[in-house]
Structures are given as C-alpha cells and as structure tokens.
C-alpha cells in the first residue's frame, strides 16, 4: 500500500519538486520584499476567477510554478497537492482510482488551480449532500504576510490539535496567507447515478426538495429553472433504482445528465448565457426552505442546492436582492459583473468584523495579500 505519488519517480516529476522548492524560496523573497517596501501582492493561480470578489490590487504573485501532487494513497482517502497544481490534474488522478473531490468545485476555466479552488471556497452541485470545500480541508501549509512558513492540520480525518486554521483558509480569498500544500479528504465515486426531470413551478420545487431531503433518498444535486426541476441521484445501484421509482419523472441518458450537471457547475447553463448585457449576477444564499416569493423575481431565479443557493440577474445595483436575502436569514453576493464600487459581499456585524480585522492582522500584519478582495481595509 504505497502512496501513489507521480512526483516520486525520477524524471520530469523530480524537476517538479526542484521547481517547487525554488518557487517557494522565490515566494518568500517576494513577500519579504513587498513587506519591506509596503507593496501589495495579488495572489493568483490560473486567473480563472479573477472576476470574483471585490477589488484586485497589487502585483501579481503567480502560484503556478509551485505545482505537483505531494501524496496520494487511495486507501487513505486523502490527497495532498501544491497550490499551483492544475485542478484538472488532481481530478484526473482521483478519477483514475475511482475517487473524486466530492464538493464538485467549479473550475470556471481550464487554467483553474487547486489553491484557487480552496481559496475561492466555491462548491458545486453536490454541496448539499456531500458538503462544501471547507468540509473536506484537512490541512494546509501557508506563507504568512511576513513570509513565515507555517503548517496547520494534517493528513488525517480527525484532528483537534490546535485550532482548525487549515479549514479557515477555505474561502478566505487569499487574504490571510499564500497557500502552499493543501490536504483534502476525497471520496469514492458512487457506483450508480441517475438524473430525473420533472415539471413544476418554483414554489412546488422548493417544497418538494425540502420534503425529500428529510427522507432517506440519495439525492445529491438539484436545480430548478423555468418550470423544470432536475434531480440527481447517486449511490448503490439498489438505492438509485428504488429512488427513481419513488420520485418518478423522465430519466435522462447518462451522457445528457453529465453534460447537464457540468454546464450547471461551470455556469454554461442557458440561464447564465441569457442575461441582458451588463446585468449583475447575484448569488443568493438562503435557508433552503425560503419560499421563492420571499426573494425578488421568483420566476426568473435559478435554484440550486435543494433551495439553498439561488441565482438571479439584476440590472443596476439592486439592493432589494440583498435586503430580501438578509431578511430571509441569508446573504447575497454580487458574483459576476458587480457594479464599480458596489459592496460585493454582504457586510458583517460589528463584532464579527472586529474578529476579521484582528485575524488579518495576525496572519498578514502589513496587509500584503489581496487587500480589499473580500472587504475594504482587510
């Protein structure tokens, strides 16, 4: 039972290790210089999510020279890889062993890196059944804003030694540190899957999804758009078969199903292509039970995650979207095409903002990394 480490064989992989060590040294030098001269850095992998978040400032620190799989043993259900590793490399390696990143991260482009996936903290269609990026992060090593190399967490599933700083990195948008090596839990692919299509209105869809989620059904993804509810089932053959019979609806071919969920994850779906030019794409994150009518333009929404994540295009800086999301117990993000100077993320309460500022000061005291990417001044 040896690690499957592509890098451990002599040849190009060894070069990768040497290159990674050199890249790490370079990162430290760049950070320390930025620190000394009061310059800012913009941590960037493949740039596939450049459009995400608030303002981007500073000189680009490209992570892609720091790449390669560090450790992977399928029987341990853990993979460790460097932040600059292409996300597709990781997914291909896992797939060749019948495993996957269960949080189904969107790539938003062929250049997406592992580090960007963790730092952005975005999860795909399987989020409500499998968990989000943060649920899978087990360990991370980082360079702090002073260029200090620190490691948190590890490569094991259960670990409460020290605070769970590694998990905090998921979704931190690179504001706390430069991610180096990241360990995540992986899961086996399901033996069987099926996708069902049913027609119904938004209100019925949300109610049904919540009702079904309380029953032992292997639903792992869902979407509703323009009167059509799509449900993905994954699990043991017997479980998928019996759930198909229980739920009913038109069954998609496997190819059509794969294409559909991929298009949803990557936002190539018709909904995302049909927006008026200049419209802002809102990501509305609410309790799954939120009735569509509680949010603006109920019929124009794309609903995912069993009701927990909803997408809506709006013209202008429409504050109604955020107000209604907050009133429903959630928040709203100007995900794409945010208006200049708009607040991209929902503002934090004063005590929570205070904790954010003190954490930023702890990890990045001079404010070198991704200043303003999440909130102004952080």
């Amino acid at each position: 039972m040896n690690d499957v480490i592509p890098d451990s064989t002599p040849g190009p992989a060894c070069d990768l290790n040497t290159a990674a060590a050199a890249a790490q040294e370079q990162f430290v030098a760049t950070i320390q210089e930025a620190c000394a001269r009061g310059r800012r850095l913009c941590v960037r992998g493949g740039g596939s999510k450049d459009w995400y978040g608030a303002s981007r400032t500073g000189d680009v620190l490209d992570t892609r020279a720091y790449r390669g799989i560090v450790a992977y043993d399928p029987a341990e259900l853990v993979i460790t890889a460097r932040s600059g590793t292409p996300l597709t490399d990781i997914e291909q390696l896992l797939s060749s062993h019948g495993q996957m990143l269960a949080f189904e991260p969107p790539h938003f482009g062929p250049s997406a890196t592992f580090g960007g996936c963790i730092a952005a903290g975005l999860s795909g269609p399987r989020r409500m059944s499998a968990g989000a990026v943060r649920d899978f992060v087990l360990g991370a090593s980082i360079l702090t804003g002073r260029g200090e190399h620190l490691r948190f967490g590890g490569q094991v599933m259960k670990n409460v030694a020290g605070y769970d700083v590694a998990r905090l990195m998921a979704g931190s948008l690179g504001t706390l540190g430069l991610l180096l090596d990241i360990s995540v839990k992986v899961l086996p692919n399901a033996p069987a899957s099926a996708t069902l299509r049913q027609e119904m209105n938004a209100c019925d869809a949300v109610r049904k999804l919540n009702h079904w989620a309380g029953q032992p059904l292997p639903i792992t993804a869902s979407s509703w758009y323009e009167g059509v509810l799509m449900i993905r089932l994954e699990g043991a053959h017997a479980a998928v078969r019996s759930a198909c019979a229980t739920l009913g609806g038109e069954k998609l071919t496997n190819t059509a199903a794969d294409v559909y969920w991929h298009s949803l994850r990557e936002q190539h779906h018709m909904f995302f292509r049909s927006a008026a030019p200049g419209a802002t794409l809102w990501r509305i994150c609410v309790p799954a039970t939120t009735e569509p009518a509680q949010l603006p333009d109920a019929d124009a929404q794309l609903i995912e995650w069993g009701g927990g994540q909803r997408w809506l295009f709006s013209q202008g800086n429409d504050q109604r979207v955020r107000e209604r999301a907050v009133a429903s117990g959630g928040h709203a993000t100007q995900f794409r095409h945010a208006k200049p100077n708009a607040e991209v993320f929902t503002a934090l309460s004063a005590p929570i903002a205070g904790i954010h500022n003190r954490l930023k000061a702890a990890f990045d005291p001079v404010g070198v990394f991704n200043r303003g990417r999440m909130f102004e001044g952080m």
């Binding site: 039972m1 399928p74 029987a75 341990e76 853990v78 903290g121 968990g131 989000a132 702090t144 190399h149 620190l150 590890g154 490569q155 094991v156 599933m157 259960k158 670990n159 409460v160 030694a161 020290g162 605070y163 769970d164 700083v165 998990r167 905090l168 979704g171 931190s172 706390l176 086996p188 033996p191 919540n210 009702h211 309380g214 029953q215 032992p216 059904l217 699990g235 043991a236 017997a238 479980a239 078969r241 609410v286 309790p287 799954a288 039970t289 927990g308 117990g329 959630g330 993320f345 929902t346 934090l348 309460s349 005590p351 929570i352 903002a353 954010h356 003190r358 954490l359 000061a361 702890a362």
Partner: protein, 502 residues
C-alpha cells in the same frame, strides 16, 4: 456566602483569595441578580476536574448560568475584574479542558438545556448549549431524523462541549464530525458581545469563523445557542463482525474496504485485550481468541445494505478474516456495538485506573503503531488495550495503571506521551477528538513549531484579546515548551541535526 477555605486558612494568600471571591460575588449580585454562584468548598468540589480526574484544581467559584443575558453579564464582570473563565458543559471531557483555574471561575452551561426547536421541514434543531447529545436524536426521532455525531459519552455530554472539542463518534467516517453537522452558533465573546457564526443558509459572508470556533476548546467564546443539521434515519443498519489472527491483516482489511470504494457507516477495531475486557463486562459475543475484531456497519435501504454486506463479507474474507458474522436483528446489531461503546467502563473494571489516549494516524500505520505500543508495554511495565475508530485512524489506547501508586501514574503519563509522539512521527496528530486541554499541552510542543504556536495565540487574541477564556489550555507557551525539553520534530528530522544535543 462562604468562601473556599483552605488548609492554614489564616495565611495572607487565603485572606486575599477570600477577598477576591467576595469582590466577584458582590459584582455578580449587583450586575446579574439571581444568578447562582457556588463558593462553598463542598459545592465547588464536584467541579474540580472533568473526565480526566488526574488533574484537579478548585476555582474561586462556579457560576451556573441560566440564560444568554446571564452569560453576558458574567463575562462582562470577569472582563472588568480580569478573572479567567473556564466554560463547562457536562464535564465528560477527557483532556482536562474544563479543569478550573485557581484564580478563575467556572461558568457552567449545564442549566441551559432547552431544546428550542426541532423543525422537520428544514431538518434542523435549535438548542441551548447544555442539551445532551443523545437528547437531540431522541427529540428528532419522531420525524425520522437524527443528529449524526455520536461520541461514546453521548448519554451525558452536551452539544456545547461537542462544539468545544469537535467531537466525532463511531459514525463520523460517513457522516462527519461536529464541524460538518453544526450550521450555526450564537456565542458571547469575553467583552459581552453577541456573535453569530455560520447561518441556516449553506454559508455566511466573510471568513469561515464557525470552522475555527468549532474545536477551539472554549477559548474563543461562550456558546449560547446552536443550530444543528438533522439527517434522515437510514431504513436499515446491519453490522458485520470479523475476527483476525493478527492485527496487521485487520488493518489491511480496513484499507481494502476503503480502496474498494465503500464508506461504511462505522468501522471500528478492538485488539484482543480490549475484546476480552468488554466481553467479560457486557457479553457482546466477541471472539476472545482473535487478535483483532473489526466491526463494520452498513446502512441504507434493505437492498442497498444487502448489496454492501455481501461486498464487505467478501473483502473481509479475502483479507484473511477467520470468522465473519452479520447481525441478524436490530437487537443483535446493538449488542455488537454495546461492546465497543462500553470499552472504557470495561477497562475500568479490569484495572483500578486507565489512561485513555486519542492519537490519529494514517490508516496504513495502524499495524506499526500497535507494534510500537506493545514494545512500550514492556518498557513501562504497564498493560495497554486498544480500541480504535479504524475507519479514520483515530486510536484510543487505554493504558491500565493503579492511581494509588504514584510511580505507576508517572509511568502511564510517560507511556501516553510516547504514544502521541509516535503518532506525530507516523504523520498523524496527538489528538483526534478529545482535545488538547491541559493533558496534551506538552505534546503540542512536539507537533507544532514555535511560529505555529505563536499564530495560535494570535488567533485566540482575535476572539479574546484579553486572554481570559480558558487561557491555560490548548496551546503551550514558548517557556513551557522549553521546560518540557522535547524538540519539535517534523518528518523525523530534528532542526539543525548537526548540533549535538542532550
């Protein structure tokens, strides 16, 4: 109100201690009228330790809070007076995380035990921090739902304590730990401010503070309300029990199951010593001749479970199981589990005292660690029996000793620290689910570098700038590590290996 009276009660120290108790009691009476404060020695004594009874300390007093407003008031007073606060739930923790501080107060949340809401439609339960773990699943049962994390102490331990320790249980391989099942926490920081971490929506804006709050051992904030995710109860669950002639092939079977793409609902192992101890105690039907016993649970629909059990049985036999048995009824399933769940009390029956360790290692190192432990048994002249959450590599070696023999206790402590260092050496961690508390604080010096430990203090500072919440737990100071004298080792390499040492 009487103060804690100690031996030689006329000394200056005692007088000034009595004064401090008095100042605190007056402030509490003024600011939080009606809030219960215990200061008599006999009332305070039950709080002098948690589940780790070897470490004891009497606090200035114990406050029994009954509401969030009382918690706010108490924390404001303590912040003003500079009095450290040790939060406490049921006191079942095994690492001394709730051990009092001599100059501090214990803040018990055990009276805040109301289940505020169970909502089957949103599959959530909203709870006060003192609600017992098992009570959540009991309240959700009528709706066909349950709360997944099930630590062995679930009859007594509270959800607030589970949050402090990021508790797991026998089902966490498939269903996750506390951090994966708590969606929202409302808590009060040391300055009396109310913070909401997480949300009933799938995520919250900003940094994922909930993720770092969970498992912070009561050092960041006092939890006053919790929302947990409830999940549907599987229709059927069955357990396969397999015997192995040697521990290594048991470990190989675990790897084979995972590599075959099966994530069992539970995957637990006991070595011969543990199996014999529990068999004598609960008569679970364990094979006491086997070197190792593996318990493997499958859950889901009838067909699904039948499909998985068949695959499991084949894999176990291929891995060298000498005997494989599947539970034929729910009663039998519970009987199989009763042995594993009673491993700790069973150890308590065969030995005056036992010391429970909690390291986690990569699964592939299980055999090597067990071998190392058996060598240590000879070196320290103490017996050790082993139960572990094999699915996630979380080991619970139970070192048996007699607490009345001071020398034996000291050897047990050394033995334990040695096991933890071996866990770090094998690429694992010194604690999987019990927490560092006061017990493993020295071992933190081995697992983390000085820079990493400094960062932990900085993270604590972000939540608790005054450093008053459970301040002596979890993270050792540089001075403490220097005194402990064992070096931080990473990848088996000492820093500056060219320098001669010791």
């Amino acid at each position: 109100m009487e103060s804690v009276v100690e031996d030689g009660g006329e000394s200056m120290a005692t007088a000034s201690r009595a004064r401090r108790v008095d100042v605190f009691a007056r402030a509490l009476e003024r600011e939080v009228p009606g809030c219960t404060l215990l200061t008599d020695k006999e009332d305070v004594a039950p709080y002098e330790c948690d589940g780790l009874a070897a470490y004891r300390q009497l606090p200035l007093g114990v406050v029994l809070a009954e509401s969030e407003a009382q918690v706010q008031g108490v924390l404001r007073i303590c912040a003003h007076l500079g009095v450290p606060v040790v939060p406490r739930g049921a006191g079942t923790g095994l690492s001394g995380g709730a051990m009092p501080i001599r100059e501090g107060v214990v803040l018990s949340l055990a009276r805040m035990r109301k289940i505020t809401a169970v909502d089957p439609y949103s599959r959530t339960a909203t709870l006060q921090p003192g609600v017992r773990n098992l009570a959540i699943s009991e309240a959700a049962a009528p709706y066909g739902l349950y709360y997944a994390p099930d630590p062995s102490s679930q009859v007594a331990c509270t959800i607030g304590g589970n949050i402090a320790e990021n508790s797991g249980g026998v089902h966490c391989l498939k269903y996750g730990l506390t951090v994966n099942n708590v969606v929202r926490v409302r808590a009060v920081t040391m300055d009396g401010q109310i913070c909401e971490f997480g949300s009933e929506a799938p995520d919250a804006p900003g940094l994922d503070l909930l993720a770092v709050l969970i498992g912070s051992e009561g050092m960041f904030a006092i939890v006053t309300e919790v929302t947990v995710r409830l999940i549907p109860k599987p229709q059927v669950a069955r357990v396969v029990m397999a015997s192995f002639d040697d521990v290594e092939s048991g470990g190989d079977a675990v790897a084979a199951i995972i590599a075959a793409g099966i994530i069992p609902a539970g995957l637990e192992m006991l070595d011969r010593g543990a199996a014999r101890a529990v068999e004598e105690f609960v008569h679970a039907g364990y094979d006491t001749d086997a070197a190792a016993i593996l318990l493997c649970e499958s859950d889901g629909t009838d067909d699904e479970v039948a499909e998985e059990i068949e695959r499991l049985t084949r894999l176990l036999k291929e891995s060298g199981a000498t005997h494989v048995e599947t539970s034929a009824s729910e009663a039998e399933r519970l009987r199989f589990w009763s042995g594993r769940k009673n491993a700790f009390p069973a150890a308590g029956r065969i030995s005056p005292d036992y010391y429970c360790m909690d390291g986690t290692i990569p699964r592939r190192a299980i055999g090597r660690l067990l071998l190392r432990i058996s060598e240590m048994e000879e070196r320290y002249k103490l017996r050790c029996i082993n139960v572990f959450h094999a699915g996630d590599g979380n080991m619970h070696p139970l070192i048996l000793f007699n607490g009345n023999d001071r020398a034996e206790w000291l050897r047990a402590e050394e033995f334990g620290a040695d096991i933890l260092e071996a866990c770090v050496e094998f690429g694992g961690t010194i604690t999987g689910e019990h927490g560092v508390g006061i017990e493993k604080i020295n071992s933190m010096c081995v697992q983390f570098s000085p820079g990493e430990r400094d960062m932990f203090f900085a993270v604590k500072h972000a939540f608790d700038p005054q450093r008053l919440l459970n301040p002596d737990k979890g993270i050792p100071t540089r001075a403490r590590c220097a005194e402990y004298g064992r070096m931080h080792v990473r990848g088996g390499v000492l820093p500056h290996p060219d320098i001669p040492r010791f």
